[in-house]
């Protein structure tokens, strides 16, 4: 499959727009879901996913064919979602970070008000609840948790996508897991 994508990219670089459509179709599910999970709503997700593909197209010449295309595409998409989240930050109370705590403590201190511990949440409702909890993680933890457990990238690939050192990826994934554990332990 990688070979197929590589070939398509060559065609796009030569100026064949229609080959790009195959790339979009191949990646659209994953990229859209990634954006959706990062942003938490369908409208923005579609917007940003679209933008990510267009950016990929206009910058295709700067893509190095020896690298993995999915990593490159995810980086574009992730950067766009983080930009989007930053822009709405003022009225997005949950994204506020406290100095020196790397943003996590404030979260874990927030009580999960609407449900009492041990309450039975099943099926779709449970899934929504979990989704909601992931969505409330600060973006820098959320992106890593999602890339690792929902999109199944290796930690090394995640460090490529986010352009941060592997050690930082590990620190953040530890903290992200701990934060979610505390949120989900009573489910």
């Amino acid at each position: 499959m990688d070979e197929m994508i590589r070939e398509k990219i060559k065609q796009v670089k030569k100026g064949d727009q229609s080959s790009f459509e195959d790339i979009v179709i191949y990646f659209q599910n994953r990229i859209y879901q990634h954006c959706y999970r990062m942003l938490g709503n369908a409208h923005e997700a579609e917007d940003v996913a679209q933008e990510a593909f267009i950016r990929a197209y206009t910058n295709i010449d700067s893509f190095d064919n020896r690298r993995k295309f999915s990593t490159w595409l995810y980086r574009i998409a992730t950067n766009l979602t983080i930009d989007r989240i930053r822009k709405r930050k003022p009225d997005y109370f949950l994204d506020a970070e406290m100095k020196g705590t790397d943003g996590l403590d404030m979260y874990t201190r927030l009580p999960s008000q609407d449900r009492s511990p041990g309450e039975e949440v099943e099926g779709l409702e449970l899934q929504r609840f979990i989704h909601q909890e992931i969505a409330e993680l600060p973006p820098k933890y959320r992106s890593i948790i999602m890339l690792r457990y929902l999109e199944e990238f290796s930690l090394k690939e995640i460090s490529d996508i986010l352009n941060i050192p592997l050690g930082t990826v590990k620190t953040r994934i530890h903290r992200g897991r701990e934060a979610l554990r505390k949120k989900l332990r009573h489910v």
Binding site: K14, Q17, F20, Q28, F53, Y57, R128, L180, R185
Partner: protein, 212 residues
Amino acid sequence: MDCNREYAQLMHQYLDGDLNQREEAILRLHLEGCEVCQKHFHELKRTLTFIQSTEHISVPESLSSKVMQNLPTEKKQVKYKRWFKAHPVLTAAAIFFVLMIGSVFSSWSQDSQLVVSKQENLVIEGDTVIVPEGITVPGDLLVKNGDLMVKGTIEGDVTIVNGELLEDGNMLDEESFTASVGEVNGEFNHVDQFFEWIWYTFKNLFKGIFTF
């Protein structure tokens, strides 16, 4: 509580596949004996199962077509540039061809006036060029937009463009040309159509190139 902090670190390293066999054995041994850490580890694993069970989100069907519609079109220029870069020889040939066609067109449509290559002793009557009896034209002769009547001799090639070869006011066909009153010792070219004119121009051009 202190043990928990230390072993939690090991748990995360384990989850990232960063523990060697010895460290893994140490963690396992501790979990067997420590209820707090056991619970912590269990919660972590359960959390990961939860994360991976989140709802599937389906992509809006129109996404790919919207992307394709919104791709910049100025990219087409880049496309040509790329093509030219990738095919330098064909590009040179294409440019050459365009210039060539241009010059052929302009030489064809320059004017419809009678043009005769410069030779002495020719007689011109209206649109007809006459090589009088007893006169010998030493080189090639080109007649454009006019007829030619040969009574004397032409040593070189004859080319008539957009005109006819006449004999005393009568049309003469090319087969019987050699039997005409006058004499042409060179090649005879009769060009009457545009494409023939292009061909003629090219032929001369290449002759020119190869004689160089």
